[in-house]
């Protein structure tokens, strides 16, 4: 919804940025509001990614729908299918807006059939985070993080510390979250679903249970069996707390979390590329995080406001600030040339690693990511699969089971309007 009063058009902006990030968002919005006098943006927090997607679904197409909403990448297909969305391509075309200033690797995720649907905003990728002090103690080179699964397993073994029966430090931990599996699959060039990850037509079947997916599950299973892998559950906070208290020496995390880790840890934190099986060339990573979507059934004025706001967000200065404060990528690479970024990178060299990894990514339908509307449910199935590994389930069986479930919901989903 939104109103026009005193010549100013007011629009609502829903986001899922809680805690510290909410403060940054608010600050940026305030700056935008005072930078011009035509539009006012009001940011409103709507809960987690899942919750805000749920909420948007409830108001989409009504007068309550916000002009701009932040939706995580997994909701992309749902948004496109909903029919309540105004692709930003329209404004790009109208204005001849130069999208080449955007990071191609990021914006391509939100392109379907050459049309730009949403505007990338907070993008992240997974990285391997490790405890340099622990590396030193284990006799490993703290500047050389493991890259292949074999290296990873060896390092993990060395990093695992036992006191009698009790393990006081594990090697590795991966959060039980579907996203990490997707990434570990993509870096091998693996597909999540058929029809080129659903980008060449609607996906009808899961594809992740091939030998590439298999490798990921086997890695987890083997390491868990070997006692070098720590199950840190589904909660990001728990995982980070465990890392910070030294329960494990390595973990996968979102690039957006790096800064906080570095700040709070009482040891030196290292960041490295996502590991891959020994026999493949790493393809890079899929972009994560979220993008901004414009509502369709609102008046022209408000759409203009939304577009204007989006453009503002993608300027180099704003992106630089956002990158520095949040740890998310700048969607406009020019931002990396800004002074504040340079200063920040000096302080936090780890941040640069995340950007490099993104730049090294080889574009393909694999690294572009899957486009399915039932993503949230598919992720739950993967999580369940991962969790069952800790119960001693056979990796192939666990993966197949998840695939069957995903097939079922894909089939069901295809019957929806």
């Amino acid at each position: 919804s939104g109103t026009t009063e005193g010549g100013k058009t007011e629009i609502i902006f829903w986001h899922a940025m809680g805690g510290e990030l909410e403060a940054s968002v608010n600050e940026i919005v305030d700056e935008y509001n005072s930078s011009q006098d035509k539009y006012t943006v009001e940011p409103v927090y709507q809960g987690s990614y899942e919750e805000s997607l749920t909420k948007l679904k409830t108001v989409a197409g009504t007068a309550d729908a916000p002009a701009v909403t932040q939706i995580f990448e997994a909701g992309t297909k749902q948004m496109i299918d909903s029919g309540n969305i105004q692709p930003v391509q329209k404004f790009i075309d109208e204005e001849n807006y130069d999208t080449s200033q955007w990071e191609e690797n990021i914006s391509s995720y939100y392109q379907v059939d050459g049309e730009q649907y949403s505007m990338p905003f907070n993008s992240s990728t997974p990285v391997l985070v490790y405890n340099k002090d622990a590396f030193k103690e284990a006799g490993l080179d703290p500047e050389k993080a493991p890259r292949t699964y074999t290296e990873l397993k060896e390092a993990a073994e060395k990093l695992t510390v036992k006191e009698g029966d009790k393990t006081t430090q594990y090697g590795l931990s991966i959060l039980n979250y579907g996203w990490f599996f997707e990434e570990l699959l993509a870096t091998q060039g693996g597909m999540y679903v058929n029809n080129e990850n659903g980008r060449e037509g609607d996906a009808t079947k899961a594809a992740f249970n091939d030998e590439k997916g298999q490798k990921v599950f086997e890695l987890i299973s083997e390491m868990y069996e070997a006692g070098t892998y720590y199950n840190s559950g589904q909660n990001w906070d728990d995982m980070r707390a465990s890392f910070q208290t030294g329960t494990m020496a390595m973990m996968l995390d979102s690039s957006a979390g790096i800064k906080g880790l570095v700040d709070n840890a009482d040891f030196e934190v290292g960041v490295a590329y996502l590991p891959h099986p020994d026999d493949v060339d790493p393809q890079g990573v899929i972009i994560g995080g979220a993008s901004l979507w414009m509502a369709k059934d609102i008046d022209e004025n408000q759409q203009q406001a939304a577009w204007d706001f989006m453009k503002y967000l993608s300027t180099a200065e704003v992106q630089a600030k956002w990158h520095v404060e949040s740890g998310y990528f700048a969607i406009n690479p020019a931002a990396y040339e800004e002074d504040i970024v340079k200063q920040e990178w000096e302080k936090y060299p780890q941040l640069k690693v995340t950007v490099d990894q993104l730049h090294d990514t080889i574009p393909s339908t694999a690294t572009q990511g899957a486009l399915i509307s039932i993503f949230p449910e598919a992720r739950q199935q993967i999580v369940t699969g991962m969790e069952s590994l800790y119960q001693g389930e056979d990796p192939q069986a666990a993966l197949d089971k998840a695939a069957v479930e995903v097939d079922t919901v894909l089939e069901k989903g295809s019957r929806s309007r």
Partner: protein, 270 residues
């Protein structure tokens, strides 16, 4: 009582109290800690710093939320008292066709999981244009089977002669309800009032669904807002939020515990 028995009883009481109160105490304690202390797993803060409290107010508009929570809880309280007492009055003091069936129907609503009805309810509220308003936050809860039941139990203890005396005197039914039944049942109404205030203060999912603006939000959502998915939560601040959220209800409970217990028991036992 023999001294030894007395001492052992007190010991057991203190131990139980320590166990029961530990989580609350723990939350208080953490709310005064700095980030490092929290991660260190300490039990007590090294100093009683109010920084977390200051920060929590800066982070989310807790003050607005507190006001909203108070307002909605109070409105729901009044609404529930009114609607429930009207219904209970009819169930006790009137004879009409279908009364017992209706009563059974009312009671049966206690068995319907609220979550199961949430989707259609949300659609209803939205179609009525009640989102982001106190109406949407409150009206759906005005009818309360438990409250009707509780008040009915109490009304049944009111001598029916009071009603008959009014009939002989020619006092209208509504006047009797308003001028006699309500004042006479004050203690039960207070019980139900406390109960409904507490339950509504503690509601989370519904306010999250029907409010999209900060000006309409309640404290429980604020609590969630303090935790983040993306970067590690600052537990000290979160716990400060927890303390702010639980403090009003704890105080209310402490003040009204005796009444609440009495009234609830009345409802519980036929």
């Amino acid at each position: 009582m023999i001294l030894a028995k007395r001492i052992s009883l007190y010991t057991v009481l203190v131990v139980c109290a320590a166990f029961m109160m530990f989580p609350i105490f723990y939350a208080f304690s953490i709310s005064f800690m700095e980030g490092g202390e929290v991660l260190g797993g300490q039990l007590l803060p090294s100093s009683l710093s109010l920084d977390n409290y200051v920060e929590v107010f800066q982070k989310v508009p807790l003050l607005t939320y507190l006001v909203n929570s108070f307002a909605t809880s109070a409105i729901v309280m009044v609404g529930q008292l009114l609607v429930s007492s009207l219904a209970a009055f009819a169930f006790v003091f009137m004879k009409f066709k279908g009364r017992d069936f209706l009563f059974f129907l009312f009671i049966s609503t206690m068995m319907i999981p609220w979550e199961a009805t949430m989707v259609p309810n949300f659609m209803t509220v939205q179609n009525l244009g009640w989102t982001n308003s106190y109406i949407g936050l409150t009206v759906p809860f005005f009818a309360l089977a438990f409250g009707t039941f509780l008040l009915r139990q109490h009304f049944k203890t009111i001598p029916k002669e009071l009603y008959e005396a009014s009939q002989v005197a020619g006092i209208s039914r509504f006047r009797f309800f308003w001028n006699v039944i309500l004042p006479v049942s004050r203690s039960s109404l207070i019980t139900l009032g406390i109960y409904s205030f507490l339950t509504n203060w503690n509601m989370y999912l519904w306010p999250l669904l029907v409010t999209n603006t900060e000006s309409a939000r309640t404290v429980q959502i604020g609590l969630k807002q303090l935790q983040t998915q993306e970067i590690a939560s600052d537990w000290g601040i979160v716990m400060a939020g927890v303390v702010i959220v639980i403090l009003p209800t704890l105080l209310l409970l402490f003040a009204g515990q005796k009444k609440l217990q009495k009234g609830l028991t009345q409802g519980a036992i036929k």
